[in-house]
């Protein structure tokens, strides 16, 4: 059986994570930033699954479920914040949300 080497998965995971980071830092739209965070989470999920498969252990798979649950909860809270922000600021630009500072 032809097995795709783990390094392929890890490379893809790294690329996805990098894209997430770049999106997270450079995008101003709060929804986009949100999606970048999801992208990073899923990149990590991919790495977990790949390792679990390669080492034939369930630990990694279990951890993926945890991450998905946390991501879902985060999305629920995060999107609620986004709606609240959108209502008060009439905008989704994070740079305008900067009241909490020195």
């Amino acid at each position: 059986m032809n097995v795709i080497p783990i390094s392929y998965y890890l490379a893809l995971s790294g690329i996805l994570f990098g894209l997430g980071v770049v999106g997270f830092v450079f995008k101003r739209n709060i929804i986009t930033i949100f999606m970048a965070i999801e992208l990073m989470l899923n990149a990590v999920n991919l790495a977990f699954v790949a390792f679990a498969r390669a080492h034939s252990q369930l630990d990694g798979l279990v951890f993926v479920f945890f991450v998905i649950v946390v991501a879902a909860a985060e999305a629920a809270v995060g999107l609620a914040i986004v709606i609240a922000l959108a209502q008060t600021r009439q905008s989704l630009n994070v740079d305008r949300v900067n009241l909490l500072k020195f």
Partner: protein, 653 residues
């Protein structure tokens, strides 16, 4: 033996009186009437005096092998080999001292009832006086150096409190501080002396220390015994107002007159003489230290007497005369005549207490005036004060048969022909005796004779109440007969006072170099010579002050610079001010304050705070409120941490 077994009662009574008056009599609760304060203040000292009398009675019945009476009440502190007990002892020397302290103290308390009647802070005054008596008794009853030191510092404290009794007056407050700080210089030496004594003998207990030293030979070089003695003597110089630390005592006259009588004449200032006499087994083994004591004593006796000539404040004259007489006592100890020194201490307590109280009575009569140049002709108006003061003057001038004659004669004789005789010091003391007689009669003549120099319409001179005159009469009686213990010696009989004290000074006597006693007739002639000094002083005083009132002024003008020098007390206060006080203030202000305190200490503290604030104000810029910049920091942190793991710590995947 109830009292001798419970020596602490003698101490506890004045302390109790002080506590009652100080705590209840004044600020707390209702203010007591003066009668209540009197009763407690005088009563506690009177009871203490009675206890001492009872102790004396019991003591006289003791066999010689039980002397000194030694009572250990409890252990005060133990630290390694160091051990200090609360222990009291009672021997012949203590007996004399406690009798003087409680006896003269009682008379001064009674006198104060009348003298302080119109003063504020009445309860406070008596609380301080009682506290003083407590500490003084602690000093003389203590059986080790540390207990003595407690009393030593305690009387210093009371002296400070009482000199500054009228603390609203700046000069009084300053004088109190001056006394406290000046004696502190000596006390430092005293403290080091105690430590050195402990380091040498592993004990501070008198009995054990004297037992340890009893095998030591006489130390003719500068050794450890000499060092201990000189350090203890340094404390004595401060407390007993000798050169060069005498400057506080004349200023101490700012206190109420009874205080001057009790503390600065009769008792506290004699503490230095007491400690030298108490430590006689050590001093006798350190001839060099004894010589220092004798020189300081003789020079002070002469020096202070010369200053007394030109003073016009009645109390200042007595103050300098006290310094001078204390010098005599040290001279006596320095030439090995300890019992003569203690004898003079006792007679001095009588006649100087008398003189001070009488001067207080004069000041009281004059309504507060202390300048003798504004008195004169008081003899008829206050005869009891005048007569008693005359007796005190005759006593201090060494005119027989008054008390001072016997004690001063013994000191002069010991300096002239004793085992440690020193003719030069004798000459100084002899001239000082002459001057003493002169300035004391000058005081008498200026105060009581001649024409009144005050405004008779404004000053209503009145004799003092009997609560003041009574103590004067008792002290006058004592000043007359107080020296008669030694009188039989004049016709080759025993000297009862010396014989009584001899057991205390036994080791000193055994160490003294042997001399052949000059014959009795020579001693008698010598006594006549000493009386002559007093008479010459009297004659000079008569010729100057009883005749033409302008004559002293003419003489002063003729002497010119010399008179100015003496009148200004040799400018010693100014010299100390210029050499010590001003440089110290300059150093404090310009170096310690501006450089060390402001620059270094404040600089460090404020600098640390400023640095923290500056760092904070820079660092808070990081919290920009911009979520994306936080994200950047998170990434930088993550990358940095990963790099740290991989690179620096050498962890490899």
């Amino acid at each position: 033996m109830p009292i001798l077994d419970h020596l602490w009662i003698i101490l506890a009574l004045p302390l109790l009186g002080s506590a009652i008056n100080g705590l209840i009599g004044g600020p707390l609760g209702q203010r007591w009437t003066k009668t209540a304060v009197n009763t407690v203040g005088v009563g506690s000292v009177a009871l203490s005096f009675l206890c001492v009398c009872e102790a004396v009675r019991e003591f006289s019945a003791l066999p010689a092998d039980q002397i000194p009476v030694f009572r250990d009440f409890f252990t005060w502190m133990i630290a390694g080999p160091f051990r200090a007990d609360f222990a009291l002892q009672f021997d012949q020397l203590t007996l004399v001292m406690t009798l003087i302290v409680t006896g003269v103290g009682l008379l001064v308390h009674i006198f104060s009832v009348g003298y302080m009647a119109h003063e504020g802070g009445y309860y406070r005054f008596f609380a301080y006086l009682n506290l003083f008596v407590f500490f003084m008794l602690t000093l003389v009853l203590g059986a080790n150096l540390l207990i003595t030191f407690v009393g030593w510092e305690g009387v210093g404290l009371c002296s400070y409190l009482l000199i500054g009794f009228w603390f609203l007056k700046k000069s009084a407050a300053d004088a109190g501080k001056k006394a406290f700080i000046t004696t502190r210089i000596g006390d430092m030496g005293f403290m080091v002396g105690i430590l050195l004594a402990f380091a040498t003998y592993r004990t501070i207990d008198y009995r054990e220390m004297f037992a340890a030293v009893s095998s030591s030979p006489v130390e003719t070089h500068l050794g450890v015994i000499t060092a201990i003695c000189l350090l203890l003597f340094m404390g004595a110089v401060g407390k007993s107002a000798q050169l060069p630390l005498y400057v506080w005592l004349p200023d101490a006259m700012e206190g109420p007159t009874p205080v001057s009588a009790l503390i600065h004449a009769a008792t506290m200032v004699t503490a230095g003489v007491y400690i030298v006499a108490r430590m006689n087994p050590l001093f006798s083994r350190a001839p060099i230290a004894m010589l220092v004591v004798a020189i300081v004593g003789a020079v002070t006796a002469f020096y202070a007497a010369t200053i007394g000539i030109a003073q016009t404040d009645i109390k200042k004259v007595l103050a300098y005369s006290t310094v001078s007489q204390l010098g005599y006592m040290f001279l006596a100890c320095g030439v090995g005549a300890y019992s003569a020194g203690i004898f003079h201490l006792m007679t001095h307590a009588f006649f100087k207490g008398l003189l001070f109280l009488a001067s207080g009575s004069v000041i009281h009569a004059m309504g507060g005036e202390q300048d003798m140049l504004k008195m004169g002709g008081l003899w008829k108006k206050i005869p009891v004060t005048a007569w008693t003061m005359m007796i005190g003057t005759l006593a201090i001038s060494g005119i027989p048969p008054f008390a001072g004659f016997f004690s001063k004669d013994q000191i002069l004789w010991a300096a002239y022909a004793g085992p440690y005789a020193n003719k030069l010091l004798w000459a100084l003391a002899f001239v000082a005796a002459l001057i003493t007689s002169f300035y004391m009669f000058r005081l008498m003549f200026l105060t009581f004779f001649g024409q009144p120099r005050y405004d008779e319409h404004h000053v209503h001179v009145h004799e003092s109440p009997w609560s003041m005159l009574g103590p004067l009469c008792i002290l006058a009686f004592l000043s007359t007969v107080g020296g008669w213990f030694a009188a039989p010696k004049l016709w080759d009989g025993p000297d009862h006072f010396k014989n009584f004290l001899d057991p205390v000074f036994a080791s000193a006597a055994s160490l003294a170099p042997h001399i052949t006693e000059p014959g009795q007739s020579i001693e008698l002639e010598f006594s006549g010579f000493a009386v002559l000094a007093g008479v010459i002083g009297l004659v000079i005083a008569i010729s100057l002050y009883l005749g033409d009132p302008e004559r002293p002024k003419r003489l002063a003008k003729k002497l010119g610079a010399l008179y100015t020098l003496v009148y200004n007390k040799y400018f010693v206060d100014e010299i100390y001010g210029a050499l010590i006080v001003r440089p110290l203030i300059w150093l404090s202000r310009n170096v310690l304050w501006q450089v060390v305190d402001v620059g270094m200490i404040d600089g460090t503290v404020n600098g640390a705070a400023d640095a923290a604030r500056a760092a904070g104000s820079e660092a808070r810029q990081l919290q920009s409120g911009n979520a994306r910049s936080y994200a950047t920091w998170v990434i930088v942190g993550a990358v940095g941490f990963t790099a740290l793991l991989l690179g620096l710590l050498g962890m490899r995947p």
